[in-house]
Structure formats: C-alpha cells, structure tokens
Symmetry: D2
Subunit: 346 residues, 4 copies
C-alpha cells in the first residue's frame, strides 16, 4: 500500500509500505477513506517530537471501513464504517476506567507517533472496540474526520476545561483550526460573548462567521484595554489558550476575571511565567489536558442533530495520493488561508 512516511526532520515521502496485519486479538485493520493533517504532524516534521522515529507512517485522524478484526473484537465487523479516535484506549487500565484515555497505559496518542498512523491506505488500530466509533448510516464522512481529533480537543481541552456556562464571557486566544473548534463548540453552552483574539485579519473574519461576538486583532489593538471595555472592567469568565506560546498564555492571565477559568489547549514547547503575585488571590482555575476523546459519542449526536457542522473547518480537498501538495498547502496556512485539508482515498 501507499503511505506518508517520516524520514527525519524535514523529510517525508509518499511511498510503498507493507499493508498492516493484525498483531493482537484486540486489533482491527481499517481501510482509510478520508484523513487529514494536524498541526502536530508539522511539529513532527520539524523534528520536535522525539518519540517519532524515522520510518513512521504519520497521521492520527481519519474515517474508514473495517477490513479485518482480531478474535476478541466484538463491536465491529468487516465492512463497518468507523471513525478513528486520535487516542487509543485499552478500556481496562486505571486511567481508561476513569475516562482519562489520553493517559491510557497501553495506548494514548500512539497513532502516527509510536506506531504507524492514518495517512495511508490502511491502518492497524489497537484496542479497536474502545478506539473506534461506529458511523451511523447516512452521516457525512467528511465531517466526521473532524471528530477524530480537532473537535474533541477544542471541546474537551477548551470548552469543558474552561467550564463555559450560559451567559459567560469567553475569550479564545488563537483563531487557528483548534481555536475555531473551541469557538464552535463553546456555543453548545450559550455564552453571552465569545471574543476571538488573533493577529490574522482573515481568521478573525472567519471567527465572526463562526459565531464570535467580538474579535480583537492583537497585532493592532491593545488587548487588555479592549477587554476591559467589553467586560465593564471585569475581565473574562473563561480564557482559552489555543496557540501554545508564553505570550498568549500571558494574555489569558491578564484578562481573566476573579473566579475565572483558563483552559490551555495549545501545545507548549517551553515554560511560561505564572503571575502568582497577582493571581494567588484571584480565585482562578487553570487546566491543561491532552484530549481524552471521551466526548466523541456526544459530539456525534450533536452532528446528527445539526448543532454542529464540523465540515465548516475544511478549506481544501485533495486525493490522498496528493498528500504532499496537501502538506504544502496546510503548512502555508496564512498564505493559503487553509484551516483543515481533507484527503480522500478513492
């Protein structure tokens, strides 16, 4: 089969690889029909993710069709349409038993990381019973690729960890795909205001279309001053960090109201300064999270109920075999105005 293979920093090839086979009785082999590229894949390609070794097939998102199942897989059979979770969950370790699949002792984020991933014609999925989700018939596959990672991440790490309530004022720092996923799912809880903060005018425009009530271009506007104005000097109830650098985490600290919640979604490469000298008495909560994908079934229901249109994030479409071009488009996001690129294996 063909697959996108990492060959060390800056090196990737669309090349022939052996088709995966069952290793454990809990495995399934899935034929990929759609997949996509994640910002994390770009990090890997920069050589930033030490766990990924050369020769690895990348990708941790996708939908497909069951090709083969191990002996003890009971929830799926050949031919079933499935959504692949970016997080593999064994369903039996203590972390899985408390819904923290991200820290599964036998899984977690392993696809396209420590085992071969989804940017390929076939993929082996360990613990298939608890790492795949059935796709109800009639649902749009394209939309569902967005439920492998980006929507659970925006929702769990941003919205749930930020405890968004009806009537709240929410700020989201970073209008990239993940910030926009938080924006779309924050609306499940009817906040009064959602303020999107980003330096890219195009993305702020999209944020408005996606439901932001206010936008702040932090390249040209004094964020603190504007937030004071928008919140009657109180600050925001929820600040969602969706970038992953000290400066944006700093903005969250500046604008948070007493009693507020800071939800960190961004992947950070270095430490940030925590202003305990002022925050110690502000009764705030800061939460971090690697997505657990515990809300995947719930998100599927909201898609079915048309409360969420995940395909809104898809800006470009490619054949899977054209994945090198897709990477190029996705990696030049500011220029190409890309959010998520969809890859179809036909």
């Amino acid at each position: 089969m063909k697959a996108l293979v990492y060959h060390g920093p800056g090196q990737k090839l669309w090349e022939d690889k052996p088709k995966p086979t069952l290793i454990h009785p809990t495995d399934a082999i899935v034929k990929i029909t759609k997949t996509t590229i994640c910002g994390t894949d770009l990090h890997i390609l920069k050589g930033d993710v030490a766990t990924v070794e050369p020769g690895r097939i990348l990708g941790h998102e996708g939908v497909g069709v069951i090709e083969e199942t191990g002996l003890s897989v009971s929830s799926f059979r050949k031919g079933d349409h499935v959504l692949i979770s970016c997080i593999t969950s064994c369903g039996r370790c203590s972390y899985c038993r408390k819904g923290m699949y991200s820290h599964c002792e036998n899984g977690g984020w392993i696809l396209g990381n420590t085992i071969d991933g989804t940017q390929a014609e076939y993929v082996r999925i360990p613990y298939a019973d608890t790492s795949l989700y059935p796709i109800p018939s009639g649902m749009d596959e394209e939309a569902l690729v967005m439920l492998s990672d980006i929507f659970p991440t925006g929702f769990e790490c941003g919205v749930l960890n930020g405890e968004v309530h009806p009537g709240d004022t929410v700020a989201i720092v970073g209008a990239g795909p993940i910030g926009l996923a938080s924006l779309l799912t924050a609306q499940f809880f009817s906040p009064a205001k959602i303020i999107m903060i980003d330096p890219d005018a195009n993305r702020l425009e999209i944020a408005k279309e996606f439901g932001a009530t206010d936008v702040i271009n932090n390249r040209t506007v004094d964020v603190m001053q504007r937030i004071q104005l928008l919140t009657e000097e109180k600050g925001v109830d929820v600040a969602i960090e969706a970038v992953g650098i000290p400066a944006t985490f700093g903005i969250c600290q500046d604008i948070i109201a007493p009693g507020g919640r800071i939800a960190n979604v961004g992947v950070h490469g270095k430490s940030a300064e925590l202003h305990l000298e002022s925050l110690w008495s502000k009764n705030i909560t800061i939460r971090t999270r690697l997505v657990d994908t515990v809300t995947t079934s719930m998100l599927l229901k909201t898609v079915q109920a048309e409360k969420l249109q995940p395909s809104q994030l898809i800006t470009h479409r490619f054949a899977l075999s054209d994945i090198i071009s897709a990477y190029d488009t996705f990696s030049r996001a500011a220029e190409t105005r890309s959010l998520k690129v969809l890859l179809t294996n036909s």
Copy 2:
C-alpha cells in the same frame, strides 16, 4: 481603648485609640475577647502590603461579644457571642451572591487592612449580619479564633480547591500553621496518604502527630525520589502549596500525577515558572484562592461534632495587652516553635 497600631514598616505600638462607633446601619461594634496574629500581619509590618496605611489597627481574626448593632442588623443583638470572619461580606453584590465573599465589592479582606482591625479592645464590623457567626453556647472560644481565618483558608484554598477524595494521595508543601490547617481538614475526606514536606524537623514531627502518614524533610531528602517511591512512580493526586515562593510551587509541579490538582494556598510576592512544556498534556488543574469563608458554618459543625480540634494549633498564650511580646514570639517561629499565639482580652 488600647490597640495595636501600624506606624510604617517595622513600626508598631500598643497605644490608645478612640473606641470605634457605628457608621452604617449594617455595622456592629464587637468587644474582642480573643484574637491572634496572622503571618499576613508580619508581611504588613515589613511594609509588603501597600494598602495598609500608617495609623491602621491591625488584625483580622477574633471572637468577641456584641456591644452595639446598627439599625438594620437583624441577626445579632448586644451580648451575643460571635466569631469574626476575616472576610467582610456585604451579602448583596454579585460576588457575594455566588459565594465568592473574598471579592465582595464592598468588603473582602478589609479588617486590619483598609479599615481598623481586631487587635484591639473593640472593633467595628461592617455588614455584621453576613460577616459574623453566632457561637453556639458551650463552645470553646479559644478554638473558634482559629475559625476566623486559618482553618477556612487551609480548608477552602487547600483541601476543597485540591478536591481531596477518599483514597487519594495528598502532598502538602509547607508545615506552617496554614499547611497544618490543610493537613487537619484534608482528613475530612479520608485520603489514603498525606505527605507533609518541610525543611523544619520540629514541624514535621507535629505534622505526624496531626495525621500526616509520611513526612519529607526537603532540606535533607530528594523530594522527587521519595515521592516516586511513595506513589509507585505515579505522583500525587493533590499537591497543596502552603509557602508562597517559586521553589515550593515548583515542587508541586514536579510531583503532581496526571489528572492531579495543585491548590495554591501560599501568598506569593513574585511570579513562578509554569512548566507548560510538560504540564500541557498532563490533564492537571491549578487553583488559586483568597479564602471566601463560605465554609465557616460547616467548620463550626465539625468542631461541635469533634471532628476537628482547632486549638491544636495554639502553642502560646498571652494577654492582649502583652501583644508586643506575642508578636515577638510569633515572628521567631522556628526558634520559639510557635504555630498560633492566642491573645486574651480580660
């Protein structure tokens, strides 16, 4: 009357001051029977708390007897025994209505800060109906002075913010009075282990008597190594910071398990480094809090039920008129082995 008055950094006098009088219809005048000294009072005397102006009577803890009440005070009358909360709550602003009295728009921490405090023979208490608590007859006044500040603080900022559950492993960094208050109230929730970390051998000894299952002297022992051993390499479920410096906040980050909660109790004078480069994916929660004293009634019940013996923290007793000596003893805590000093106005 006599009172302990702040006269600028390093300057305090036990001197004559006019007896306070009612200003607002919601005020009460309380004759102090017992009071104590807080670590915060020492900070004020160093000149660290900018809001405290020379001439201010210090103190925000105490019990006493109602001397006089304003026209609209309905819950108390002359002669009632009362516990004074360190936090003044108007009961009507939006913060008070959601139980965040610490940020009361008309109160908060004002006693011995922006208005005269309790280290005096009499004190004026604003919003008496919602800032005083009736002392059930027969209860030990001495014990209750400890419910003005230190026990609600240890419990709300440490134990509740740390979400201590039965079976949890809890670490408390700092075995001063406030850390010990967290230790005593953490036991309300039956954690499996409470590990106390401090460089003072005497305080660790006390911690053991007070229920710590393990102690670590971080002057002589490698904390991280010891925690790994005690927790089967998992880290602690709850880390309570009860010192207020970057190093101890750093310890909390080092030892916290995935999914764990860091509760900050310490008063910080400067920022700390937050290791988002490792914590971003550890699903942790960090909470800060200025005590709200929303649990005062509940704590009173636990004292009545003998689930808590607050007087355990009292090591020294003085006449109120001897408060200068009391400050001396309290400020040399390592040497005098003092925890809380009790002052009686007779």
Copy 3:
C-alpha cells in the same frame, strides 16, 4: 392606589387600597410598570393556597421604578428601573447563604401570598437589595416581566435540575407556559432532541416553533411506544414534569432511561406512585424545587445577548386597570390560546 385584591375563593376585585409605605430599613417601594398573572394566582383564587388570606393583593411578578428606599438599601435609589423577583431573599440566613432563596427564613415566596403583591400600582419589596435586579438601560421591560418567575422556574426547576447536556434527549411533559419556558431554556445546552408531550394540538404547534424537535399528543398517541421509537428503545436522558398531576409524573417514570434525571416543575396537590420496584435499579435521579431565582442575573445576560427572547411567551396585552379581563382570558387558556398575559400600568 388601585390593586387586585383576593376576597376568598372565587372572589377578586380591582379596588382602592392604601399605597404601601416603608416598614423596614431594607424595604423599597416600587411603582409597577408591567406585571402578569401566574397559574399560581388561579390556584389561589380557587382557594387552594391556605396561606393567602382575604384582603391580600395578588401577584408576584413585575417590573417597575423605585419610588422610595429604606435607610439601609444601598444598591438602588429612586428612579431606578428594577425587575422584581418572585422570591424574596434576605441574603443573610443560612438558606440564602447557600443559594436556596426559596427557603429564605425571612422571605421565600411571600409576595401576593403572605404580604401584598405586584398586581397593583405600587408594591413594597422587603430586602430590596437582594430581591430586586437592576434593568440595564435599553432592555425591553415587557420581556423582563417574564424573568420574575416563569423563566427562572422553567430553567432552574426543569433544565438545571434535569442536568441537560449537549447531545441529550429531553422530554418535557406539559406544554403550558412553564413547560415552554423549560423548552426555550433547555436549548442553552444544545440537547440533540427535545420532545414535547401534551394533549393540546395548538400548544404542540407552538412548541415546534419554539424549538421542540418532536411532539407527542398524548391524547391520541401511545407515548411509551413513540418514545421507544424516538430513542432507539433507550428512553430519554431527561424528563421534565411541567403539569403537576400523578399521571404526568407517571409518564416521566415510564420514559426515563437508565442513568436519567426526572425534574419536577409542576405544583402537586397530591401524592404520586413511585415505581421503586423497577426504578430501584435504574440509577435515576428525581429532583424537586421551588424556584430560587439564583439564575436571574445569568438569564438577564442571555436576554441581552439575544440567546433568549422571553416575550415569545406573551400572547395577550392589557392595561393594568383591565386586569379582570386579563384574568378571564388567562383562565380560559385552551380557548383563548393564551400563554402569558401582559399588564401595563400607564
């Protein structure tokens, strides 16, 4: 002034009464600008509410303008536009301190019950600071009358007590004004399905316009069978009882899924059968509640943010002086297709 006075079962008169005056320093006198009639007022007129004595001015909903304030009222002054809560809260008793204003030891539901109410040109509001809400300038007074009682009730007793989550299936039994208020506010949490059950075709039609995804006419359709179909035999996650009779409470028990929540909103005159023989093992939660109006400020924000249009419930408008006709229209709801009637004092 003129007021609507109860004179025993079946007897009411629009008659002259003395204008109320301040009694306590915490009181305010409010000139009513808009008020409405509640189903409870009809119960009172039937003689069903023993606490209401002849001579009482009815009504517990309304908006108006502050005419005069007692000495200790600090949040309001003459001329302020205010929303009157149906629940009087002293803000100082133990129930108020924990947000259970409905059981306030000095208040609770007293307006138009044990003290004179709002169906009058003026009303005395005890504990004004904590029982009135400021109306932000520019907001529609008409809409806000609906926030005195019906929306907090539908939301707190129905939606919050039912713990509606995104993706849930919710059934509401009873499409009267209160059921419709639950329907409108349940949408704050983006449930996948909201099924409205009622025997009145007109009200079901309105329910559909208001966002019900499915309706069941329980006069003509087998509810159980239809729910099984709509929920893949699972039952509903949330059942909201908005009628107040044993039969409708029975429906809730029949249709609830394992793990589901039954929220009782209806006012019951007699006991109901609880099917513990099947429910004991179904892991369900049943909650009852007299509205606390703790969400009034939050609801105001959702109205400002246009997430809620409370005036949707208003079907008829009258001059306050024409209140007798308004009662007539409201009491013949099936015939007049009335939901809420609005009374204006001009």
Copy 4:
C-alpha cells in the same frame, strides 16, 4: 467440582457440577478461596428473582486465584490473587464507557443470576480484565470479600448518591449489613451526625460501635419527633434507605430537610407513595442505583490505608462445603445476630 445450586423456590443443594471452562477469549477461570452470601441470594431462593433459572449456581461475591485466562486477557495471569466484582463490565459498551457498569450491555449483575456464580469451587468470569481486581500482596482476603458487593453498594448507592458532606446530618434507615456498610463508608466524609434507625436493638448496638452518633429504635420511638429534636426541627441532610419497603422509604421522605438528598439502597418489590404534595417545593433529590462497582479500586486503597475495616461485618465463618449451614445461619439473622457469613474453600 462442588457448587451451591438453585433448584427452584426453596430448593438448593451443595452438589457436583462440571468445572467451568473458558468460553470467550475475554474470560478467566477463578478458583474461589473465599465467598459469602448476600441478601439477594435469599430473595432468589424465595423465587422472587425471575431471571434465575433452576440449575443455576448462586453467588456473586468472592476472592480467589486465577486458574486460567482467555487469549485476550492481558491484566491477569494464572496464580494472581483477585477480587471478583459482583458486576460484570465489558468495558466497551456505552454504559461502561460512562462508568455505569451496572447497566453494561454485555454484563451487569449476571453472576449467580443469568450465569453460574461464585458459591462454588471454581467460577468463570467474563470480561476478566474489567471485572476482576488485583489484590495487592499482604492484604487480608477475608476483608476483601466484603468489597465484591456490600461495600461498593453501601458506598455508591448510599453515601455517594446521598452526597454526604463534612458537617452533614445523615440518617440511615435499616441497620442490616448494607445499612452498616453505608454507615462505615459515610464516615469517609466526616458528617457531624449519623443517625441509625432500625427496630432491632442488637443491630442498633452494633451501629453505635460502628460510629453512629445516635440511634432510633422505630419500634419504640416516634422517629419524626426524635429527628426533629436531633436536628433543631430542620430534618436531615441525607436519608439513606437500606431496607426496601414503602414504610422505610416513607420515613426518608418524612425526615428529609429542604435541600436534602434521599439515597435509595434497598431492593424494592413494590411501588411506594411519593409525597409530591409536600416535596414538590422542598428542593430535594432522590437517587436510585444498582451498584456500579466503580469505586472498588478506591475502596481497596482505603482498606490498605486502614480507613476501613471491612471484616467488621463478618460475624460467622464456615467451610465452603458447609454452605447449607451458613445459609441457615444467615437467613435467621435476627436470631443468630449474623451480619455477613464468610465461607472458605480450603
């Protein structure tokens, strides 16, 4: 092997049965070392549990040693000491994924019900990875048999569902083994008062030894009057029903305070009257639950930490081969003063 077999109402025999063998790759065969008898077993023997067919080996509690494991069992191997959960959990269905193992689509309460149980020398445990718990070395097996069912039930259905908080007043109606398990685990949360209500003087005596602060013999004392006295006319914060008949459920309704929680633990054979005519406005919560055994790991930790001594409930000990006598003793509990009987397979 030998096993205790149900042969229709009133009929049971200790007889030869084939030793169980692996059926599915997720199965394990466990050699029973200790087991016990549950009140439910007595119900089965009366013919009250329709799902149990003649020929069935009874029993759903026990500890033992792994004899053999299916191909996909990864957490256990031959020779491991294990605790058997009374609830079988597949770990993969939607109920298991949300921690509601009681309603597992492939398991739930099946042992000694729809498949052969633990009152035998060997038992087949389906979904072994998620239905067995490893016993840490050095722990007392006897104590742990009590963690198969009775302690998780008393804790989850009684204490967690009743939301016991520090300082609360808790009433437990029924001082049988299950009520006593609630009593012992309620103390994890340091309530101020635990009032045990039962007509058996001996059991009330035991309740006092186990930590009840007050006891009421409802054969001789007016419960309502006594509760009023003990709670300053307020009623109890938590009422735990641990009997399973309308009368005791009625007591819970009578004594519950506004805002209180009623937790039903009892197995009910018929419906009860729910006094909505008074409860509708009392802001109460009623919860039912078939035990999920989600807290088994946590309970194991509290036993290791000596916060819980489960063997306190064991009053009688028998050889497994003497199970007929054990049943006799257990079924005449009032007379024999038995709580739990321990059966050892040696």
